[in-house]
């Protein structure tokens, strides 16, 4: 069934509208969950902001500063699990695992080649995890910097009266702080180097994995990607030769049938 965004939106809105009539069966109510993470984010942000308002309103300076710090710490927590490619869990870990730690086994005997491949794979995965940790550390540092900037901004003026607009503005301010700090981090050489290592190690790991899969395919007499690539390249070569021959024998347009597009005199 084709999802209807408007129906989903109405169903989602109904969840937060007191006294709203129940949706008819099949109306898409069950699909409202696609908006749920953002509603959840909004609610958690609002709760933290309300705590800040309660703690800072009419409070002496130290208590207001505490409330601001506590608010910015909450935001750090809230945004710590933002989805970035290098934060995704290593779901394919099992593919690189082995009952025996291949890194500590000497490569000997008839299966030496495969042992070595497993060692290379394990080493690549170790590099992936190390680069991932470096990236996550830098991400956490950026969030800490964002939180500090955000807290110092809050400290310069009394909190506004709680309202939807004020909350939205606070959220926007936080995102500005977070993006600024993130941008400074990701433009830096350490981040670029860690990202390159993350990608390069992942590529190395995948290459070894592909070799393992091809080895299994050969055992089962299944066509491998390498064999298909060879055929594709041969076909491309034939196509190129054919195109060149066609080009060579294409008749030139008869004289006088082509005209130049009119070009105006320069102003």
């Amino acid at each position: 069934m084709r999802p209807d965004p408007w129906q989903q939106w109405q169903a989602f809105s109904a969840l937060f509208t007191p006294g709203a009539p129940a949706s008819p069966p099949g109306s898409g109510h069950h699909d409202a969950s696609s908006f749920a993470p953002f509603a959840d984010l909004t609610e958690r942000f609002n709760a933290a902001a309300r705590a800040y308002f309660d703690g800072a309103a009419n409070a002496p300076a130290p208590a207001a500063a505490d409330a601001a710090r506590s608010f910015s710490d909450s935001l750090r927590e809230l945004f710590a699990d933002i989805q970035l490619p290098w934060n995704l869990s290593a779901g394919s870990r099992a593919l690189g695992a082995s009952p025996i730690d291949p890194m500590n086994s000497p490569a000997l005997g008839a299966t030496r080649e495969h042992q070595l491949r497993a060692q290379r794979m394990a080493d690549a995965w170790r590099r992936v995890e190390e680069a991932q940790r470096r990236l996550q550390r830098m991400g956490a540092d950026a969030l800490r910097e964002a939180a500090a900037t955000f807290a110092s901004g809050l400290a310069t003026s009394p909190p506004p009266a709680p309202s939807a607009a004020a909350l939205h503005k606070l959220y926007g301010t936080w995102v500005d702080c977070a993006e600024d700090a993130y941008s400074r981090a990701v433009h830096g050489e350490p981040f670029c180097a860690a990202l390159a290592e993350y990608v390069n190690a992942s590529s190395a790991w995948r290459k070894e994995l592909q070799a393992s899969v091809e080895q299994s395919a050969k055992l089962l007499d299944l066509p491998t990607r390498s064999e298909i690539n060879t055929l594709t390249q041969r076909l491309a070569g034939v196509e190129n030769e054919l195109r060149a021959l066609r080009q060579k024998h294409r008749p030139e347009p008869a004289a006088g049938t082509v005209k130049r597009a009119r070009r105006k005199a320069k102003p």
């Binding site: 959220y171 390159a196 690539n229």
Partner: protein
């Protein structure tokens, strides 16, 4: 029919990936399709305009909906508009190179248009990465190009604010690509990672907080569909593009060769209009502005708009300003 059913039917008929303007496929080669749009105004100039879009996203962003369509704006100005749809590369396209895209697909489209109009030159509008392909083609075949327009097109890939360039500088692209294609999902993750707080959270929170009406929600969902409708990239072409342009900056350093022929931007002596988004986070203005110093053309115009990368196609402001600027510039040449 229930209201929901009616809306679903309308959504099914919503142009979406096909765009909103009437068009006809006039040529096809493999997965590449050349479209011609039905004129809706009196012709302004004699030469048709070929839009060369990027490989990394789908070209229907140029014709998203009636009130947000650069193509419709150009048609309204009286231009005869063609568009290249590169299609969705699959495993069989993994060895398709930049030379294939430029010398076969793009050149084939140009040849088809020139043949149909009995002309020997046309106007080209290259968008983003499509602008880079257009620059290469125009430098290699200057006799086929009457006027060249580049839009949010990177030329100097080593400008200081270019985050994509910094990130890709030390990546082993050959190992990343291997013998395969590059997944569109990977590219989506890359683009989201440029501004993750805004692109993965804030825009949705703003939507939730903004109580959108039906029309604005549909607009949002159309853009959302486009953003994540990312074709896989033909492996060889991707490897060449990242290595030659992002890593080695060959175009700006006059060291680029396609199929053994040097791409020398000084050979570009046709009139050039360079359209730049001042708030473009993907192609920093400096990356585009570098074009002026590199081309041989004496008729060079740069127009900067206070817009971001995507805003250049779909913002309300762009609808008023960009097609009119292109038409006015073309009409005077």
């Amino acid at each position: 029919m229930t209201p929901g059913g009616s809306l679903a039917a309308r959504a099914a008929a919503t142009p979406g990936a096909a765009g909103c303007s009437e068009r006809q496929a006039v040529w096809q080669s493999g997965k590449v399709t050349l479209y011609r749009y039905r004129p809706i105004a009196r012709p302004l100039v004699s030469a048709p305009l070929l839009i060369v879009y990027a490989l990394v996203n789908r070209p229907y962003m140029m014709d998203l909906q009636e009130d947000r369509s650069l193509i419709r704006g150009l048609l309204s100005e009286g231009l005869d508009v063609y568009l290249i749809d590169w299609g969705y590369p699959d495993g069989a396209d993994r060895f398709t190179s930049l030379a294939d895209y430029i010398d076969d697909h793009l050149a084939g489209c140009v040849q088809q248009i020139l043949k149909a109009h009995l002309l020997d030159e046309l106007n080209i509008l290259g968008v983003c990465q499509g602008g880079v392909l257009s620059l290469c083609f125009s430098a290699l075949h200057p006799q086929r190009v009457k006027n060249l327009i580049t839009m949010v097109t990177p030329v100097d890939f080593h400008s200081p604010a270019d985050l994509l360039s910094k990130w890709t500088r030390n990546i082993d692209v050959a190992a990343l690509v291997g013998d395969g294609n590059v997944s569109g999902d990977v590219l989506n993750q890359l683009f989201l990672s440029l501004m993750p707080f805004r692109l993965t959270q804030q825009k949705y929170v703003d939507l939730v907080a903004g109580s959108p009406d039906k029309a604005s929600l549909e607009n949002f969902m159309r853009v959302e569909q486009w953003i994540f409708d990312s074709p896989d990239q033909a492996g060889a072409a991707f490897r060449e593009f990242v290595t030659w342009f992002y890593q080695e900056n060959r175009l700006a350093q006059n060291r680029l060769e396609i199929s053994g022929r040097k791409v020398d931007l000084r050979d570009l002596r046709v009139p050039i209009l360079n359209l730049i988004g001042k708030r473009d986070h993907l192609v920093p203005p400096a990356a585009s502005l570098a074009l002026r110093a590199l081309v041989g053309s004496k008729d060079y115009t740069a127009l900067e708009f206070d817009l971001g990368h995507i805003g250049m196609y779909i913002s309300a402001r762009a609808q008023h300003e960009v097609p009119a600027a292109i038409a006015k510039w073309l009409a005077s040449r």
